[in-house]
Amino acid sequence: MATAITLRAGKLPITSRPATAATTESTAVRWILIGIAVCFLVLFLFLPLSIVFSEAFRSGIGTYWRNLLQPDALAAIRLTLLAAGIAVPLNVVFGVSAAWAIGKFEFIGKSLLVTLIDLPFSVSPVVSGLIYVLLFGLQGVLGPWLARHDLQIIFAVPGIVMATIFVTFPFVARELIPLLQAQGQEEEEAALALGASGWQTFFRVSLPNIKWGLLYGVILCNARAMGEFGAVSVVSGHIRGRTNTMPLHIEILYNEYQFAAAFAVASLLALLALATLLVKTVVEWRARRQVADSTRWNGGEQIA
């Protein structure tokens, strides 16, 4: 027996194993594809990012801080934080309630609502800014009424906040709708049958189930709120120190050839983007682990 086995082992042709699995490309193709991807990333992502930071620090760290601490720059940072600080919580409330309604209930006009939520994605931000000008501007539909009551929306902080809210509208809702649809209502029904009130059910059962999706939506929403340029640019009026957000301030500085100052503020936005990416990765990783945890043990059993 032993000899037979050795014989067969000796005869085993090495080529009997295919060089690549059915879905794997040849080595050359793989290297070319990876090469293209890397070149693309370097050219369009890493190079610009590194230039932002190198330009910002070109005249030394002292100048960098001085540029950031200019009153106008500080005002722009404050305004950006304010706009995001209002837009994000409002969109969380709106996003959760809209996703809740869409994910858990059947009602007339549901698909219309879904389309409307997506609208800010499909409309150019400049157009949405213009809509606000046409509505609330001095020559706009509501302009005269607002002027009589001494309310200024366009070229003022309220306009900027509203434009930001509009542009960041879909992020939270879009993230949660598929999640809530997939979860169904059984857990909520169980909670209600056990005597929980509506709010208790929401905070103790529904919210914990969507928390990672919600956090992910908030991160994306916040990133967009702070980085928004087009819509805000139209309604802002570019009043230095008063209605300039960070992206707008960067543009002004750049147009005035204050490159170091422009890149200093830009580096803050870039840092924000990097931090967002980091948090996003962590959140995705944790969410995935949670999903893996809940499916790992279901091996043979069906979960409908």
């Binding site: 029904e189 169980a190 049958a193 914990p208 499916t295």
Partner: protein, 343 residues
């Protein structure tokens, strides 16, 4: 607590899920709602629970109208087919949930909650798994946790929607015996929905057989099995051979007359003989024999070309020495005749 559903009607769009259904459940009884899918059994259960509301009709608990009350106020324990455990909570937290969400005045103390949960964990024999998450439990364990969670709030009725529907056959058998035992211990009015007739007949005190939004028959397992009121009940509660026949004065005879009465015979009530007995026998040819299992299942073709199923004991099969393609006589020992149009 007794439950009474009166003239419940429920429609989903064009589909009538329940059509004027009435059902009375005395206090302390364990009742099965048995029927095929789409027969309205789950809808009826959900209406009793207050998770769904009827278009018309009333639900009474102990004679008191609860039709307008929500699930929260009805104090029912509800067990879902797919468990519906809170996935982000441990087994302990799941069971304690109903006690923790009580208004401050009625909420038991931490120690009381712990004692109650411990007691329930003992009852479901999962004491060492209290800190596990639902995802780390097997299907049978999850269903027991779901049951403990429902019992924790000391409900006045326990409602179970296909409680063993998503478990494999063996666990299923174990759990339903356990449910019967539990019910004997706790003595709480319970209703469970199932499409498995064995489950209903084995576990329940009484069985309500449902079909197409109506209750066909309510009775003890014995009653519905041995004295079915309608062809549907007879058909649903076991395998059955359907013939057309004519009822003679004394002995009902089976013919191939398509115009005759509907005659139902269970496979184990048909006897195979080599010789005719002069009575209501008919000729058949054996087509297939399956002798795996406690009973031998034989498929034959009648003289008028209809398939017929016969079941006999292994012993009898050995005595007869039947083989495929053999011509035999089949004698019904007991037949059930449903007069056409009467039911």
């Amino acid at each position: 607590m007794s439950i009474e559903a009166k003239n419940i009607t429920k429609r989903f769009g064009q589909f009538t899920a329940l059509d004027e259904v009435s059902l009375e459940i005395p206090s302390g009884e364990l009742v099965a709602l048995l029927g095929p899918s789409g027969s309205g059994k789950t809808t009826l259960l959900r209406i009793v629970a207050g998770l769904e509301f009827a278009d018309s009709g009333t639900v009474l608990f102990d004679g008191e109208d609860t039709t307008q009350r929500t699930a929260r106020d009805r104090r029912v324990g509800f067990v879902f087919q797919h468990y519906a455990l809170f996935r982000h909570m441990t087994v302990f937290e799941n069971i304690a949930f109903g006690l923790k969400v009580r208004p401050r005045g009625q909420r038991p103390s931490k120690e009381q909650i712990r004692a109650k949960v411990d007691e329930l964990l003992r009852l479901i024999q999962l004491k060492n798994l209290a800190s596990r998450y639902p995802s780390q439990l097997s299907g049978g364990q999850r269903q027991r946790v779901a049951l403990a969670r429902a019992l924790a709030v000391e409900p006045s009725v326990l409602l179970l929607d296909e409680p063993f529907g998503s478990l494999d056959a063996k666990v299923r058998l174990e759990l339903r015996r356990w449910l019967r035992q539990l019910h004997d211990e706790v003595q709480i009015t319970s209703v469970f929905v199932t499409h498995d007739q064995d489950e209903a007949l084995e576990v329940a005190d009484r069985v309500a057989v449902m079909n197409e939004g109506r209750i066909e028959q309510v009775g003890s397992p014995d009653e519905v099995y041995h004295h079915p009121l309608t062809p549907f009940v007879y058909n649903f509660l076991g395998n059955v051979n359907l013939f057309h026949g004519r009822i003679d004065e004394e002995t009902p005879a089976i013919h191939d007359a398509a115009t005759g009465e509907l005659v139902y015979v269970r496979p184990h009530l048909l006897e195979i003989h080599r010789q005719p007995n002069g009575g209501s026998n008919f000729r058949a040819t054996i087509k297939h024999i399956n002798s795996a299992g406690p009973l031998v299942k034989i498929e034959a073709l009648t003289e008028w070309g209809a398939p017929v199923h016969v079941e006999m004991s292994q012993e009898k099969f050995r005595d007869l020495q039947l083989s495929k393609d053999e011509a035999v006589f089949i004698i019904p020992k007991e037949l059930k005749v449903f007069h056409k149009k009467v039911v």
